[in-house]
């Protein structure tokens, strides 16, 4: 689950990491009185969940309240990097002498967390990591020991700090790892972490991603993860609630499968034979009747869909359960869109029999089924 900048900063402040004074607003009339307590000039920042806001015009600066209102008018409701801006963070603009980068992420190869720090933070950090790899200090964190203060000090020494600054920087890094552990975080990033003229370190921007699988341990965020507009549209949220992963695409062949790899391969093969997938829908492992019914309803509700291709390989999922659910859904919804099914695996014979008895086309082979689905979609034109 991706957090908005203001949510990430809320967590940082709980751990004593400094952030600029700011106010969240969602209307351009600026009724929020606490804005008056902020000192001009302001940074006015669209709250969206993708990187690269500044370059995309999602962050503006203002020197007066009048100008601030104009900025809000411009940003609220606009689309930046394909996300609609519905909330904006107004912050005091901070003067700084240096931009750093601090982050902790998952390192798949080291099978642990890795801390990343750089004295060349800011929006070009990715390019920096290519052009000046030595300016990026990475340290794999020992899972048994965690990130020790002594490790953090070594890293910050390499960034060129000493004395009091070194201590307070190292402290920030140690706290970041504490946040990682306390909130089950996949990624936390402060970029830039700026050094101000009076020697403080302030988090100007921050990104946090919480591990979806751990949300059951963090109920307030679990609730928020289903908010409309956060990452997903309303249909995607419905799907997510029952454990489905749905992504709308713009073709006409609806696709349902079990297992991400298989669904990806199904999209590939439909495209290979000249068809256009309407969506990605992964049932996951051990799909229930309820999940299959809902997934069919979701895909068949898409008016672009001319044919539905269900591709199931039974392991945990049982083919007879799938067949029964498909027939029940067709009967219940009285849907006329043709359905093509590919079944293989646990209880496939029973599953196939049920489908054939109910006049639903069923295949053994994925390629044959894909070719047939494309053929039908063309006839519907």
């Amino acid at each position: 689950m991706k957090l908005y900048e203001y949510e990430a900063k809320y967590i940082l402040t709980k751990y004593g990491i400094l952030v600029p004074k700011g106010v969240l607003v969602n209307d351009h009339i600026l009724q929020n009185k606490s804005v008056n307590e902020l000192k001009l000039p302001f940074a006015i920042k669209s709250q969206i969940l993708v990187s690269g806001r500044l370059k995309a015009g999602g962050i503006l600066f203002s020197n007066s309240i009048k100008q601030t209102k104009e900025c809000l008018q411009k940003l609220l409701g606009s689309k930046i990097k394909n996300e609609i801006v519905d909330r904006v963070l107004i912050e005091e603009k901070i003067n700084f002498i240096k931009e750093l980068y601090f982050g902790i992420a998952i390192d798949r190869n080291q099978q642990s967390y890795v801390s990343i720090a750089s004295e060349m933070g800011g929006i070009d950090i990715e390019q920096t990591s290519i052009d000046f790899p030595k300016k990026i200090i990475k340290l794999t964190i020992n899972p048994k020991k965690g990130l020790q203060f002594s490790d953090a000090k070594k890293i910050c020494t390499k960034l060129g700090y000493a004395g009091i600054s070194l201590k307070s920087l190292a402290n920030i890094l140690v706290k970041l790892f504490q946040i990682v552990e306390d909130y089950d975080i996949e990624l936390v990033e402060i970029n830039p972490l700026v050094e101000t003229t009076n020697g403080n370190f302030v988090a100007l921007d921050s990104r946090i991603i919480i591990d979806d699988n751990a949300l059951y341990r963090h109920s307030e965020y679990r609730k928020k993860s289903f908010e409309l507009g956060r990452e997903l549209g309303s249909i995607e949220i419905e799907a997510k609630k029952v454990g489905l992963v749905y992504l709308k695409l713009d073709g006409e062949i609806g696709i349902i499968g079990n297992g991400a790899g298989l669904v990806l391969a199904t999209l590939d093969i439909v495209t290979y034979y000249g068809g256009k997938p309407a969506n990605f829908l992964d049932l996951g492992g051990g799909a229930s009747v309820e999940q299959i019914t809902l997934s069919m309803k979701i895909v068949l509700n898409d008016i672009q869909v001319k044919v539905l291709f269900v591709n199931i390989l039974g392991g945990l999922t049982r083919c007879d359960d799938v067949a029964n659910a498909i027939i029940a859904t067709i009967t219940e919804t009285k849907v006329t869109t043709p359905v093509i099914v590919r079944l293989l695996g646990t209880n496939e014979e029973q599953g196939r029999k049920i489908l054939i008895e109910n006049a639903v086309e069923v295949f053994n082979n994925m390629e044959d089924a894909a070719i047939r689905a494309i053929e039908i979609s063309r006839k519907q034109n």
Binding site: A105, I106, I125, I209, A265, P277, L313, E348
Partner: protein
């Protein structure tokens, strides 16, 4: 032969009293897998499919000497159950459970490597040596004994490809599902090393998908080490929409990896042929084997 398991593997099922645990215990038994005991805290003394159930791994270990465990334990309790297996001296642990928090996985895997235990998964369909031992949830009848080693991080796609090989009379030595999570225990590279030393395995199929850089790392390994057995690869997700990315850390750690093109190129650069679609894998293998 084959790798990691065989007909003499003595299997413990953790979470044996659950719906999936008991169902797949039945399927594994009828395949011929030697399941000797099960564990479910609080359910000790029961029998599931005629297999005795214990409260702890330690008790089961003492009485029936399992050397390998398979986990069907719910995600919230999976880390604890794995730790228990490791601490009781089990050396191979197959984790079927999906949705385990990554923080737990990191701890499990660190603990396993400290104790010389091998973790397969999490979120793995399991491992199978056709005809001798099925340790997982895969449908047994689509596999066939033979000389192809198969490694995959996708569950159902593994079945898809194994089925395709079987149809073309290309049997398998061992099929390993390393698991679909960002962090898993056994890796492609670990499996390649094991297959290299396995006399039964003559060729290897490597199934990858978009995301992460495991495939690229595997290509790196093959560049720097001589590997005598032929490998054919398939990468799922050529036509997938690009994910909206957040933050820079991913790019800093992994560079510009992750796309299907990048992975395919990495494989091609070290002389590994990649199939355009799953159905072509058997064809490519045939060409290599018949050469």
């Amino acid at each position: 032969m084959g790798i990691l398991i065989d007909g003499n593997t003595r299997v413990l099922v953790q979470g044996i009293t659950g719906v999936q645990g008991s169902l797949h215990t039945q399927f594994m038994l009828s395949y011929g897998t030697k399941i000797v005991a099960g564990v479910s805290p609080g359910k000790g003394g029961q029998m599931v499919q005629n297999i005795p159930v214990f409260n702890t791994v330690k008790e089961a270990k003492k009485k029936y000497l399992p050397n390998t465990s398979i986990l069907f334990v719910p995600a919230q309790f999976a880390a604890k159950a794995t730790r228990e297996a490791i601490d009781s001296g089990i050396k191979i642990i197959v984790i079927i459970t999906e949705h385990i928090p990554i923080r737990d996985t990191i701890q499990i895997i660190a603990h396993a490597s400290q104790n010389d235990a091998i973790v397969i998964g999490p979120n793995s369909p399991g491992i199978i040596n056709p005809k001798s031992c099925k340790l997982g949830i895969m449908p047994g009848h689509i596999f066939k004994l033979g000389n192809v080693g198969l490694i995959s991080r996708s569950g159902t796609l593994t079945y898809e490809i194994a089925y395709g090989l079987t149809q073309k009379n290309l049997g398998q030595s061992t099929c390993v599902g390393i698991g679909g999570d960002p962090i898993t225990g056994i890796s492609y590279i670990d499996c390649l090393k094991l297959f290299r030393d396995d006399t039964q395995t003559k060729a290897i199929v490597l199934i990858g998908e978009i995301g992460g850089n495991l495939e690229e790392k595997t290509a790196d390994f093959l560049k720097n080490n001589s590997y005598s057995k032929p490998i054919v690869a398939y990468i799922a997700g050529r036509t997938a929409p690009a994910e909206k990315r957040m933050g820079h850390a991913g790019a800093i750690i992994m560079g510009r990896t992750g796309t299907a093109e990048h992975k395919i190129k990495a494989f091609n650069d070290v002389g590994i042929q990649t199939a355009e679609k799953p159905g072509d894998i058997a064809k490519l293998l045939r060409q290599i084997i018949d050469k």
